[in-house]
Amino acid sequence: MRTLWTLIAVATVAVSTAGLAQQKSASDAIAEYRAMLADGNPADLFEAKGEELWKQKRGPKNVSLEQCNLGKGAGVVKGAFVELPRWFADTGRVQDLESRLLTCMETLQGFDSKVIINTPFGKGEQAKIESLVAWISAESKGMHFNLPQAHTAEKTAYELGKRAFYYRAGPYDFSCASCHGQEGKRIRLQDLPDLTKNPGDGVGFAAWPAYRVSSGELWGMQRRLNDCFRQQRFPYPGYTSDVTVALGVYMGVNAKGAESIAPALKR
């Protein structure tokens, strides 16, 4: 008799776990996978490298980047990331983190920014910028996005970014908005954030730069945008080009108030 009761109990347990398994959706499983990986985010390794690079004397002039002005005054790193891209008086341009770093590397350290722009992603100085980006963004972790929109150039960049976001072209007649203009869209099993508004804390704009497990590399926003253009079969927009920076302004302003989790972890 006792064995029979045990059998029934086992059967009940089996039925209820099967029911649970059905309730768990694919996106839950991905969220679980992300949570498992989040503790050992290899972006930490890039952060450590980035901090070292920031303080290290390098380049033809043998100077460190410690006097670099990221928008909050020379050498201020904390909080700078959540206010980028923004307008800079010295260059007269709206710049994102990566184009600003290029300016600093040119003016302070004496690097030729053209050479760096033409270096492939993940190679040479480009790889160094990715580490720098990891560290600088990590210094603003948990802060909320608040991009300035006071300057005319910043407003223009927002409008330009908006146009670029909705611009349909290429063999697929795609625009950024095709995938990121509505809620609840996905590619295969990946949920896509709606970048026309604030999709939530730590999603969309607030989740880059990120470590990509699939490639084992840290991707900055410029590289991420380049991949979007590639997937749409658009021509390569160029590293730190006006259009990529403008898209950064558009997404960043839309993400106002979102909490930055960068450098995040991506599949």
Partner: protein, 103 residues
């Protein structure tokens, strides 16, 4: 010289949880580069953990471990202030050793 590891060790109760991030390419030897030539295998073969100089764990690793591997384990009897030493050797004979204090 390989990049340093990131080691975090936290004591809770009678054991300490150790989390280690290692910076390594972990090439399997099965991938090919753009010109079609095989990329030579390059991966961590042995990982050793020491608590105050005494070996508490060794692990044999192979090419199936991910790039920039993350390792987590717990050590019985480790208290705050104890020293955790992690070392690895890869198949090219390169080595790296890093230390952390249990907090």
């Amino acid at each position: 010289m390989a990049d340093p590891m990131r080691i975090r060790a936290q004591a809770a109760g009678d054991k300490a949880t150790v989390r280690v991030l290692m910076s390594h390419e972990m090439e399997t030897g099965l991938r090919k580069d753009a010109s079609g030539k095989a990329i030579p295998a390059w991966y961590i073969q042995e990982v050793t953990a020491q608590l105050n100089g005494k070996t508490v764990m060794t692990a044999q690793w192979g090419p199936s471990v991910a790039k920039n591997p993350f390792l987590q384990f717990s050590v019985k009897g480790a208290k705050a202030g104890d020293k955790i030493t992690m070392s690895w050797i890869d198949n090219k004979g390169e080595k790296r050793t890093d230390e952390a204090t249990v907090s």
